[in-house]
């Protein structure tokens, strides 16, 4: 191991840690709504306080979104990689569940954010 390689690896780990703090900053608050985004378009909003099971249909594909105990979770899908099903349930601001093959995203937001958005719009 040469010195420059060690420096590089430390720098990379440092960048990773810094980026972790940057990207998670202010995102530890619980969100209020789960926003469903299909192909970049917001299509639906679900309050996290109501338990619900909803089948997201996008063409022939489906993902089943379940909201329970204040968490949003994808419990079933017919996508090939099943990443969306394996991802943990989410309830914090900015957290996302993504199904790439179906271009489906479920994102947690708080009601405050929406107010800011409306003002900005």
């Amino acid at each position: 191991m040469k010195k420059r390689d060690l420096i590089l690896i430390f720098a990379l780990v440092f960048i990773a840690v810094i980026s972790y703090f940057v990207f998670t900053f202010g995102k530890n608050d619980k969100g209020d709504v789960a926003v469903l985004i299909i192909d970049g378009v917001e299509s639906e909003k679900f309050s996290l306080s109501e338990d619900i099971e909803y089948t997201i249909k996008n063409g022939d594909n489906y993902n089943v979104l379940k909201i329970h105990d204040g968490y949003a979770d994808v419990i079933e899908a017919d996508c090939p990689d099943k990443h969306c099903v394996n991802q943990k349930k989410i309830n914090k601001n900015g957290e996302k569940i993504i199904c790439l093959p179906h271009k489906v995203i479920i994102e947690i937001r708080s009601n405050d954010d929406n107010n800011i958005d409306t003002v900005a719009n």
Partner: protein, 161 residues
């Protein structure tokens, strides 16, 4: 090396890279984040880079992506791998030839850039900013890249004899 020998070696390497990609699909990854990958095929690309040179490694990498795209992953998988591979290959060549980093660092940078390339394409596909995954992609890139560097280095020690 004679040109017929070269052809045979390139074929073996390309074949190995394709098999590695296939083996990787059998291994479940505990982190369900789009873009996180073991990158086993990169072992072969890194080895080719040090054993034959950059041009050959690039050729092997592209052949692997096209064939495994045709065989397994389909067009969207092809796009993701292509973006990841081109970005990681460019960065690896720069790290190796200009900055003279060792094989481990080259492979770590390759791993990180592979993940970043994939998440950039993913962001474009779903038209949403996925940069929230950046930290986890960098960290997983460092870990898998280091592993791949160690494997490639050990294999190279054996085939050089």
């Amino acid at each position: 090396m004679k040109s017929s020998e070269k052809t045979a070696y390139y074929g073996i390497f390309a074949g190995l890279a394709i098999i590695m990609g296939w083996v990787e699909m059998m291994i479940p990854i505990p982190i369900p984040v789009p873009g996180v990958k073991l990158g086993l095929a990169n072992v072969i690309v890194v080895m080719a880079m040090y054993y034959f040179g950059n041009k050959t490694a690039l050729g092997i990498s592209i052949i692997r992506i096209i064939i495994s795209g045709l065989l397994f992953s389909g067009f969207s998988g092809f796009l993701y791998s292509m973006a990841g591979a081109i970005l990681s290959f460019t960065v690896m060549v720069i790290a190796k030839n200009i900055f003279k980093f060792n094989i481990y660092s080259v492979s770590i940078l390759g791993g990180i850039c592979h993940n970043i390339g994939q998440i950039v394409v993913a962001s474009l596909v779903v038209k949403t900013n996925l940069s929230i995954y950046m930290p986890i992609l960098i960290i997983s890139g460092i870990i898998t890249g280091a592993l791949i560097g160690i494997i490639a280095k050990n294999c190279l020690n054996h085939i050089k004899r």
